[in-house]
Symmetry: C2
Subunit: 336 residues, 2 copies
DNA sequence: TAATTTTGTACAAACGTTTGTGCAAAATTT
DNA sequence: AAATTTTGCACAAACGTTTGTACAAAATTA
């Protein structure tokens, strides 16, 4: 069947498209449309299976009721969880959220941003996937409110909500040191990402503060493969670390696969702590200790920031780091 | 800065909006726009930071280049993985995909569908979250191509791609029986979902075929909590099963938490197999055997079905069940 | 030189809503 | 009875693109 428009309904009811539009967009009372006319319109709309054309309405009003959320990977439970919460929260405010997966690829991120702005989005929440920021800055320059999550750019005046990665990593490292570990290897992710850089700095500072001169940082990617390969390399060395600190769960999983293949047990042979929590960590062969990020808080605050910017056009730039928490399970052995 | 339109560029370049539109939408050669004019237009567009208005274009052309994907939960790695693959695949065909999370709530699903159709989507891939289908059928009646994934409606002529849930569950149960188990409990998910119903039937048939009269099926939800509570109840009974078959990973996780709390070891005290794979399953305290669904194939075929329907308006209804595979890890003990 | 073709570009309608403005009839007030 | 107000509705412009159609100048052909 052919698509029904307001014009069709006007013809059937003998009313004008103005009257029909006002009834269907909930403004009947405001414009004193008679009860009988309202009923005729509603009946006709139902009978003809009328579906409003959001594009036409948006063209005229300039309001899309659409927001965009760009995350680097739907396959990462951390980001999937954030996406789920943000989507649910924004729905409460009658926004539709276009969720986009940039696949950890800045060129895709740029393309997606173009697609989003062409659709007249009224706001953007983004987990940037690289260190390029100009294309994100340009969105803000177009007077589209932007909020960064997790990864952000310190020197830009774009609001962001993240975890205090430095503090989380610092505490994780301190804990290892307090348990007698001095030979600790950190397996990092993407070096240019701000969370990674701060986690590395947290690790490094904790080591230095404890007087440990030998600081070992390896890896360059938040992937399973990176965790796997770097752990394999570590285990080939004469002098192995007594503890490993992985900067993401995907790295931790790769690390654990390599350890298992080499018949090295956590925590008896080596201790392991990771960044980020997940329910699975409880049921691993060795339940993993970790630094947990407050995912729910991050999501809700990001939404709050964005809506505040949209509604009040407030120019204040909120840049907040939330406190992570350390979750001790069974993967750290005391050796002093 | 104010939004730039084609009209602004026309004014700056002294050309008509027709010329400008044709240059910017890649039709300059086709309409013999001179080189100098093209250059003037492109320069002005860049200088004024022109962003096309997709809504206006769509209003005129009737083409949105937009597809919709509705999944019941972004927090479920199975669906998040599917969403990721489908999104990546459709991007290759220059579609933007609106990903929507219905939160296992059919009313939200209906609302989301309304929002999608109002945005002139050209196709829909959906994992239905309940047993109501009329609102999905209506989408197809509006001549919007629809493909169901994972959960579907057998009696409808809507294309779907899923796993042969019956066969997967049947084989899992047979394997348990071959390993000497006869007291097997199945912890199921949402009873009205087609995959669940078929998995239960596969389990039941395998049990009956082996001459086992006592068939125990519990639960009613694909959640951690359901798995946890039902396992707790099981462990209170005098006669416990020797094996548990959970119909999803989230149920399996809840089950494992309960077992751990009761100090019951897998597979020494009880065997466990689940439906669905995940990389984590390898590193659990007991690596879990499972029936793995071909997620990548499901995603790619769903995309293929949808694009085929969009492009060729082909009325054939493809309804395909893919073969699952059994992945044996360490969670099943042979007891005969 | 005139007729025809090619080139480069423009006009204006269309898409489907929304909304500022306004009209005519009915009701009320003076 | 006339003036004013209220009620119920309609006209037409607007949003920003796309595109069918067409025009005028330049180039080519006969």
């Amino acid at each position: 069947m052919q698509k029904t428009s307001i014009t069709d309904i006007a013809e059937i009811t003998g009313l004008s498209i103005t009257t029909v539009s006002r009834v269907l967009s909930g403004k009947a009372e405001q414009y004193r449309i008679g009860k009988k006319s309202q009923e005729k319109v509603r009946e006709a709309a139902q009978k003809l299976h009328y579906v409003p054309n959001h594009f036409a309405a948006n063209l005229r009003t300039g309001k899309s009721n659409t927001l965009a959320l760009i995350i680097p990977s739907l396959n990462n439970p951390f980001f999937a969880g954030i996406a789920s919460e943000i989507n649910t929260e924004l729905r409460k405010f009658n926004y539709i959220t276009i969720i986009s997966d940039s696949d950890e690829n800045v060129e895709i991120e740029k393309m997606e941003l173009l697609q989003m702005t062409a659709r007249n989005i009224e706001g953007l929440i983004i987990v940037p996937c690289g260190d390029q920021w100009q294309h994100i800055k340009e969105i803000q320059d177009q007077r589209i409110p932007v909020v960064c999550i997790d990864r952000y750019f310190e020197h830009l005046d774009i609001p962001y909500i993240s975890t205090d990665n430095y503090e989380g990593a610092n505490k994780a490292t301190q804990y290892l040191i307090e348990n007698g570990h001095s030979k600790i290897t950190c397996i990092q992710g993407v070096q240019t990402s701000t969370p990674n850089r701060l986690r590395v700095k947290g690790f490094t500072d904790a080591m230095r503060e404890a007087g440990h001169k030998e600081i070992n940082i390896v890896g360059d990617d938040f992937t399973f493969q990176n965790g796997y390969l770097e752990t394999k390399l570590l285990l080939q060395q004469k002098q192995r670390p007594t503890a490993i600190f992985t900067l993401s769960n995907t790295i931790a999983m790769g690390c654990m696969k390599a350890l298992k293949e080499e018949n090295i047990h956590v925590p008896n042979d080596i201790s392991l702590i990771t960044f980020d929590d997940h329910p699975y960590l409880d049921y691993l062969s060795t339940p993993l200790s970790c630094i947990a990020q407050p995912v729910s808080d991050i999501s809700k605050i990001a939404v709050k920031f964005l809506l505040s910017k949209i509604q009040n056009k407030d120019i204040n730039t909120s840049q907040v780091l939330l406190k992570p928490s350390m979750k001790l399970r069974d993967s750290i052995r005391k050796i002093n």
